[in-house]
Symmetry: C2
Subunit: 165 residues, 2 copies
DNA sequence: GATTTTATGTCAAGTAGTTGTCATTTATTT
DNA sequence: AAATAAATGACAACTACTTGACATAAAATC
């Protein structure tokens, strides 16, 4: 029947899954490259953008603990330490001791960081989003978010299971 | 009318776009973390996985030029050099001079690399895909791929425009 | 044949990500 | 009060990603 008598593969890898994850890999690479380029004259990378964006959310005015940030951004504490050090060096964030728990240093935007986020960064980011999501309807965006959320949920479960060592 | 008389934002950033890119950021981080963990006993990272997967495709048996690989994987030549050096060090790939263009070194899987891909790696990757895409129907996968493709197209255009410096 | 373009390698500096380990401080629990 | 747990900082080692710059070799063009 088959035109290509392939030599009985072990467990044929799902081609659609393969494509999906490869597209995710490519998309993330390109997002970091072109996203960082969109903010390059401010010397802000996509990772710093993610941190500043997290700190600019409503409810984060008084600061967020490092541990909370690592969970939110899904990066390691040691990595975030480096990113935060550079942001502090550049005067965009500041560390304050938590009033409730003096082990915990809360990270919050400096006034300079908040100002930059609200003006120049917002403008560039809006332009970036508009260009990158050209042709996306509102429902397209919602559906895309939904798929990524589902993927995240699954991988989170997988990661917890893998952590049992 | 508005319950929250917000102080006239410069250009209100699209919240859906924001969520979408943040989910992409998180998904990529988690994919690298849990994907690398799925192959950790082979000491293969997701980037190496991507390279090996590219080399294992039909038509790549005779090797792929480095430049072609950088375009395919969307990473820089300098970065790929390092990844390829580690893969060569571990005996998974080999470099051969192109018969057509002796500037060009073609990268191809070693027999060890090909064997590993077809057996252990395939098994782990299939298991990873199955867990990470639990609850995804075939059409879900196709739609998700479609959105990522669209995003990639847009960002590629953006990147080319940004490159005009 | 000489020039230009192309493919690659290499070195450097910077950022970002991982794990692992050890120390410190403080909260919590006993 | 003492032991434990938790949050953080500070290292180290490694992988991976970027850009920029310079060198080399070979192909393509003039």
């Amino acid at each position: 029947m088959s035109e290509h008598p392939s030599p009985a593969p072990h467990s044929k890898v799902d081609d659609l899954a393969n494509r999906l994850f490869f597209r995710l890999y490519q998309s993330a690479n390109l997002m970091h490259k072109s996203g960082t380029k969109a903010l390059e004259d401010m010397h802000i990378t996509t990772q710093q953008w993610a941190v500043i964006g997290a700190l600019a959310r409503d409810g984060a005015e008084d600061g967020i603990a490092v541990g909370e940030l690592t969970r939110f951004l899904m990066v390691s504490r040691q990595n975030l330490t480096g990113v935060l050090a550079r942001l502090e060096r550049d005067g965009l964030i500041e560390r304050v001791v938590s009033p409730h728990d003096s082990r915990s240093r809360l990270i919050r935007l400096s006034s300079h960081g908040r100002h930059l986020w609200r003006t120049d960064m917002s403008d560039r980011i809006s332009a970036f989003y508009e260009a990158a999501l050209e042709g996306f309807s509102t429902t397209d965006k919602i559906h895309a978010i939904h798929y990524l959320d589902k993927l995240l949920d699954n991988m989170r479960q997988l990661d917890e299971g893998q952590g049992e060592s």
